[in-house]
Symmetry: C2
C-alpha cells in the first residue's frame, strides 16, 4: 500500500492529521511544501527554509530539465545534494509549466513537444521521460505522474478527454516507475469542476494504484467558491489511507478550507512570490509593507514566531526595505511568509488533534477577513 507508511493520528470531521514517513524524514500532515522552482526556494537559504519548520520542498521538473538540465543535476549528485536540502523533495511532472510557460508545438497521446521559454530549444516530455527525470536524474522522493491540463473554461468534452488521457498517462507512469522502496509515485485526479468526471478519474487512479493521490486542475482561475465546491466531494473520492495533495493551493484561507475537507498536502508559490512584492501574510490577513501606515510601526510581524524575519524586524524597517527595493526586504518577507504558512499548518495539526477544527476554521476565516471582533 505505498512506498511510504502513512499514519493518521487523529481525524476531526473530514480533517486528518498524521505523518507520512520517508527515508529522508517524516512529513507531518497537513503539510505545506515551499516551492523551490529552479533548485532554490526563491531568495532563501535552505537553513532559512528549514527554520520555518518545512518538512518537504517542491521542485519544478520543467525549470530544472531546461536549466541546469536533469542530466547535469544527476552528475552533480542529484537535486538534494545540488541545492543542499536533506529532507524530502516532491517534484511535479513538468506538465503544468509546459502548458503555462512554453510554446507548445504539439500534444499527442505519446508526449508533449514544446519549446523552452528560455532559448526556444525543442524538448519532448512523455510520461516515461517525466518519471526518468524526476525519479532517476533529479532523485525526487515523491514523483508526480504527467497529466494533461486544459485551460479554463473548458467544455465538458475537453475536460473529459484531458482527464482520460491523464489516466492513461498515469498508467504509463506507473509502469515506468515500477516498484521502488525509497521513492513514491502520486497519481493526479482531473475532471475540472464536474463531479462525475472527478469520480471517474478517482476510480481509474485507484485501479492503477498510487502511493498518494493529488487533486489537479484547481487553483487555475475557477475562483475560491468553485474550488471549495469541488473540494466538498473530490478528496473523499480518494483512498483515506493514502495522502491527498491539492496542487498549487493557495491562500491561507484556501488551505484551511481544504484541510477541513480532507486534504493533507499543499504547495504554492504565493508566500514567496507575494513576499518578493512587499506583501506579508499574518493571522489578521495580508498586509502590504509599502503602505505608509507602517513607516513608523516599530512592532514586528509576529512577536511569537521562532523565525527571525517574523520576530526581530520592525514593520518600519521592512517598510523602508520594500520602499527602497532592497533585496533584504524580499528575503525577509519571503522568509516570514513561509514561516507563517508553516505556523498555520502546525496550528491546523493541533486543532485537528484536539478536535477543534471547526472552531479554528471559523475563527481563522473571521480574523483573515478582518471580521474578528473578539480581541
Amino acid at each position: 500500500m505505498g512506498a511510504f507508511p502513512f499514519t493518521l493520528h487523529a481525524t476531526d470531521g473530514k480533517a486528518r492529521t498524521g505523518v507520512l514517513a520517508t527515508p529522508r524524514g517524516d512529513i507531518r500532515t497537513p503539510a505545506f511544501m515551499p516551492v523551490g522552482t529552479a533548485g532554490t526556494v526563491k531568495a532563501l537559504t535552505v537553513e532559512q527554509v528549514a527554520a520555518t519548520g518545512a518538512d518537504i520542498l517542491l521542485g519544478n521538473t520543467y525549470h530544472l530539465m531546461l536549466r541546469p538540465t536533469a542530466e547535469r543535476v544527476q552528475r552533480l549528485g542529484g537535486l538534494h545534494r545540488f541545492m543542499r536540502w536533506k529532507k524530502p523533495i516532491l517534484t511535479d511532472s513538468g506538465g503544468f509549466q509546459v502548458m503555462s510557460l512554453s510554446n507548445i508545438s504539439k500534444v499527442t497521446e505519446e508526449a508533449v513537444t514544446f519549446q523552452s521559454h528560455l532559448d526556444g530549444s525543442r524538448h519532448v516530455l512523455s510520461p516515461e521521460r517525466s518519471i526518468e527525470i524526476q525519479a532517476d536524474l533529479l532523485g525526487s522522493d515523491i514523483v508526480m505522474q504527467l497529466d494533461e491540463l486544459v485551460a479554463l473554461p473548458a467544455t465538458g468534452e475537453k475536460a473529459a478527454d484531458a482527464m482520460r488521457r491523464s489516466a492513461r498517462w498515469g498508467e504509463r507512469s506507473k509502469i515506468a516507475f515500477g516498484e521502488r522502496d525509497t521513492q513514491a509515485l502520486f497519481g493526479i485526479q482531473q475532471g475540472g469542476v464536474d463531479e462525475a468526471l472527478r469520480r471517474e478519474s478517482a476510480q481509474r487512479l485507484i485501479e492503477t494504484g498510487y502511493d498518494g493521490y493529488a487533486i489537479g486542475g484547481l487553483a487555475v482561475g475557477e475562483g475560491h467558491a468553485a474550488m471549495v465546491e469541488v473540494l466538498d466531494f473530490a478528496p473523499s473520492m480518494m483512498p483515506s489511507d493514502r495522502p491527498r495533495y491539492l496542487m498549487g493551493v493557495g491562500k491561507p484561507i484556501d488551505i484551511v478550507e481544504a484541510v477541513a475537507r480532507g486534504v493533507d498536502m499543499f504547495d504554492c508559490v504565493l508566500p514567496t512570490r507575494s513576499g518578493r512584492h512587499g506583501q506579508a501574510w499574518t493571522w489578521e490577513g495580508s498586509i502590504n509593507l509599502k503602505n505608509a501606515r507602517f513607516a513608523e510601526d516599530d512592532s514586528p510581524l509576529d512577536p511569537s514566531s521562532h523565525v527571525s524575519a517574523s520576530r526581530d524586524y520592525s514593520k518600519a524597517y521592512l517598510h523602508h526595505l520594500v520602499k527602497s527595493s532592497e533585496i533584504l526586504g524580499q528575503v525577509l518577507l519571503s522568509w516570514h511568509n513561509l514561516a507563517f504558512y508553516e505556523a498555520l499548518m502546525a496550528e491546523l495539526r493541533a486543532a485537528i488533534s484536539e478536535g477543534r477544527m471547526e472552531s479554528f476554521r471559523r475563527g481563522f476565516a473571521a480574523r483573515q477577513s478582518g471580521r474578528d471582533t473578539s480581541v
Copy 2:
C-alpha cells in the same frame, strides 16, 4: 587623545595591527567595514554579516537622510536598533554621494544645496547638519567630517581650494561635535595626488585634532599606480597613535598595498556589488561564476571558510543561480565576498603580528594576478 582607545599590538615596516576599542565592541585593525548603504548591507541579514567576522559597518548619511530620513531613524531608536546591528557603525558625511548622485544646485562656504536623486526634493547639507544627522539622529559611533571633493582630473588650484575648504569644514565639524565620550570624530585629508597639498591638509587636521584620520579623494579614478604613490607618503603624515582610514578602497590588492603603507581601516562596496553581479573574490583573484567552466565544478569557493556561503555550496550550484538570476545567487556571493574580505583582514593582522607582512604582500599579489607557481 580621542574618544576611543587605540592600541597597536605590533608593527611590521609601516604596517600596523591593533585594536580600536569602542563602547559597542573592539575593532580589530587593519579592519574592513562592509557598506550598509541604506540601513542594510545589500542582500544580507546582520547575522550573515556578523558571521563574516566584521567588527564594524559603514552607513551612508546621504541615503539615510533622504530615506527613511534621519529624523525617522531617530524616532525608531537610532540606526543600530533600526537595522539590528549591535556592533559599531561608522557613517560617512554624505558629501561623497551628494557630489556623485544628486543634482547639486550650489556649493558655498556655508553648505551644499542639492536635489534628491529619488524625488528631486531640495536639501541642504552643512558641516553642522552632517554632524547632527550622524551623531545625534542616526547615533553613529564614528562620525566623519563633511569634506569637499573635486572631480578628477583637477587643477592644482582646484584641489588646493577644496582641501582648504575641507579643512575649514572640519574645524566647524569639530565645534559642532564638541566633546563626546561614546562617539568619535574623524577628519579627512584631501589634496589629490599632490604631496605638498596632502602635507598641508594633514597639518591642518592635526592642528584641529581628531579621534582618527581619513585619507579622502582616492579611489576616484586616479588608478592603482597613482593611488599607491600617494599612499607612499600620505598615511605617515598622520599621527601614528590614531587610526588611519582609507575611504572607499578597494580591491583586495589595493587593501594589502595600503596596509603595507600604514593604513588601518577600509570600506568599499566592491565585495557586495560584485557579488550581486556574479563575481567572487578568492585567494587566486576574482572569478565570474557565469563562466561555463564552473557549470559542473563541484568544489566550493573556499572549503576552509567558516562561512556557509563560501564552504558549503558548489561553484556549479552558484553558476546555476547566477545564470538563472536567482536572488539566492546574489545573497551567497555577497556573503562569500564579505567573508573573503574579512578573512583577508585576519590574514593581514596575523602577518603583521608575526613579522611577515612583506612576504605575505608579495605572495598575495602573485596569487591574485595568477603568477603564483608555488602550488
